[in-house]
C-alpha cells in the first residue's frame, strides 16, 4: 500500500481524497481502500520522510485538508521497490496439502476432498472469466493473473489426485 501511494504521488502532489480515488480507479476493482488506511499510511510515510506536506487548505468550516508530495527519498524508495523482484511463493505448507494428508490419515475421502476443491476452483474461474468478458482491459489483465494461478492450483489438485495411493503410504495412512 505504501509503495503504491508513493508511486501515485510521483505524478504530482495530491490530497488524501485524490489518492483514494486514484487508488480505487487503478487498483481497487474488488475492494476500494478505506480513507482510514490512506491516512494511516500517509502518516507513516510522513514520519519516515518519504512524503512531505505540500500545503494545507482550510476546509471551509470542515477539517483542514493536507496535500502530500513525494520526497526525493520517496522517489528513490519507489524505484528500489519496483526493481526488486517479488519472492515466488512456494506454498509448500498449503492448507490444501494439510487437508489432503489429514483426510488420508483419518480415513476420510481425500479424492472427494480434491474433487470438491476442484469444483470450487472452477466455479471461481467461471466468475472471473465472466468478469473478463464484460470488463475493460485492466479487468482482463487482473482476471488473467488470478486465472493462471488457479489453473496452476488445479494442475496440482489433479497431480495429487493421481498420486494419492503413494501419498497415503508415505504418510502412513
Amino acid at each position: 500500500m505504501g509503495h503504491t501511494l508513493l508511486g501515485l504521488l510521483e505524478s504530482g502532489p495530491r490530497h488524501g481524497y485524490d489518492l483514494k480515488r486514484a487508488f480505487d480507479e487503478k487498483f481497487g476493482h474488488d475492494r476500494p481502500v478505506h480513507y482510514g488506511q490512506i491516512y494511516a499510511t500517509m502518516s507513516r510515510l510522513l514520519k519516515s520522510g518519504l512524503v512531505a506536506i505540500d500545503g494545507v487548505e482550510s476546509g471551509g468550516g470542515g477539517p483542514e485538508r493536507k496535500r502530500y508530495a513525494i520526497t526525493e527519498a520517496g522517489i528513490s524508495d519507489v524505484g528500489q521497490w519496483l526493481g526488486r523482484p517479488e519472492k515466488p511463493q512456494p506454498y509448500l505448507q498449503s492448507t490444501l496439502y494439510t487437508k489432503v494428508v489429514l483426510a488420508l490419515v483419518t480415513g476420510r475421502s481425500a479424492a472427494g476432498l480434491l474433487d470438491t476443491q476442484r469444483a470450487e476452483h472452477l466455479r471461481m474461474m467461471r466468475i472471473l472469466t465472466d468478469r473478463k468478458r464484460g470488463g475493460d482491459f485492466a479487468d482482463q489483465l487482473i482476471c488473467d493473473h488470478a486465472l493462471f494461478h488457479m489453473e496452476a492450483d488445479l494442475r496440482w489438485l489433479e497431480l495429487t489426485a493421481a498420486r494419492l495411493d503413494r501419498l497415503a503410504k508415505e504418510v502412513g495412512a
Partner: protein, 229 residues
C-alpha cells in the same frame, strides 16, 4: 424416451470396451439447449470416447443415447450420419479443414453437402466468417492462414448449418493462450445467440471456465461436479 426431462441430448449407462479395457464403464450425461458443458478428465479416461458416442460417431456396446426422442445407440449408421450432418457441428483440435478448398469453400461445405445451392451456401459462409472475424481470409487456403484463424474458420464451419449441438474436442489445444481465449469467446457467444448446446472436451481449466458446468470422466465413469446427473 426421456430419461432426463428438459435435456436436449442425454446418455445413460454407456459402456464401451476396447480390448480388455473399458473406455466407458456406466457413463451418464445430459446437456440442455444453449448449455455449454465441459468434459474433463485425465488422458485415457474415456472423455473422447464419450464425445464420439454422444455425437453418433461410434456406437456404445450398451446403454442409451437420447436425442429428439430417438436412441442414437440403436439407430442405423445411415440415419446417424444424416442426423450428424443436419443437427450436429464439430470442431476438432486441428481444424481438419480441406486443404484444397478456400476457407470460404470449407465453411460452405456442410451446406453444399446438405444440398444447399452454391450462392446461398456462400452467403451463409461469409456471414459466419464475418462473425468469427475471419472474413479477410475467405479466399485463402487453410495452409495460408494462422492457427488461430484456421480454428475460427473451423468454428464457422461447425456453426454454418445452425446445429443444435456443437461437439468441440480440444478446440484450443493447438493454439496459444490469446487465440484460444478468442476462439472460446466466439464459440460460446455463438452458442448463446443460437441456443445451441456445446459439449466441450478439454484438459485446460481456463478453457473449461467458459462452460456453464463441467463433468469429470475418470476410469470410464462420469462425475458431474454440479451433481445433476
Amino acid at each position: 424416451m426421456s430419461a432426463y426431462p428438459g435435456s436436449l441430448l442425454w446418455a445413460q449407462d454407456l459402456r464401451k470396451v476396447y480390448g480388455p479395457t473399458p473406455a466407458l464403464d456406466g457413463a451418464s450425461f445430459s446437456v440442455r439447449a444453449g448449455e455449454v458443458v465441459a468434459v474433463m478428465g485425465p488422458s485415457g479416461s474415456g472423455k473422447s470416447t464419450l464425445l464420439h458416442c454422444l455425437a453418433g460417431i461410434i456406437s456404445p456396446d450398451s446403454g442409451s443415447i437420447g436425442y429428439g426422442g430417438q436412441d442414437l445407440a440403436t439407430m442405423s449408421d445411415a440415419r446417424r450420419s444424416a442426423l450428424r450432418r443436419s443437427e450436429f457441428g464439430f470442431v476438432f483440435q486441428f481444424g481438419q479443414l480441406v486443404p484444397e478448398l478456400t476457407c470460404t469453400e470449407n465453411v460452405a461445405l456442410p451446406l453444399r453437402l446438405a444440398g444447399v445451392g452454391r450462392k446461398e451456401a456462400q452467403r451463409a459462409a461469409l456471414e459466419w466468417m464475418a462473425r468469427l472475424e475471419v472474413a479477410e481470409v475467405g479466399d485463402k487456403r487453410p495452409g495460408e492462414v494462422s492457427g488461430g484463424q484456421g480454428q475460427r474458420v473451423a468454428v464457422a464451419r461447425a456453426l454454418v448449418t445452425s446445429p443444435r449441438v456443437i461437439f468441440a474436442d480440444e478446440p484450443t489445444g493447438a493454439l496459444d493462450s490469446l487465440n484460444g481465449e478468442r476462439v472460446m469467446q466466439l464459440l460460446t457467444d455463438a452458442s448463446r445467440e443460437t441456443d445451441a448446446a456445446v459439449v466441450l472436451v478439454t484438459h485446460e481449466a481456463r478453457v473449461a471456465a467458459y462452460s456453464d458446468r463441467e463433468i469429470v470422466v475418470r476410469d470410464g465413469k462420469v462425475r458431474d461436479m454440479a451433481g445433476t446427473v
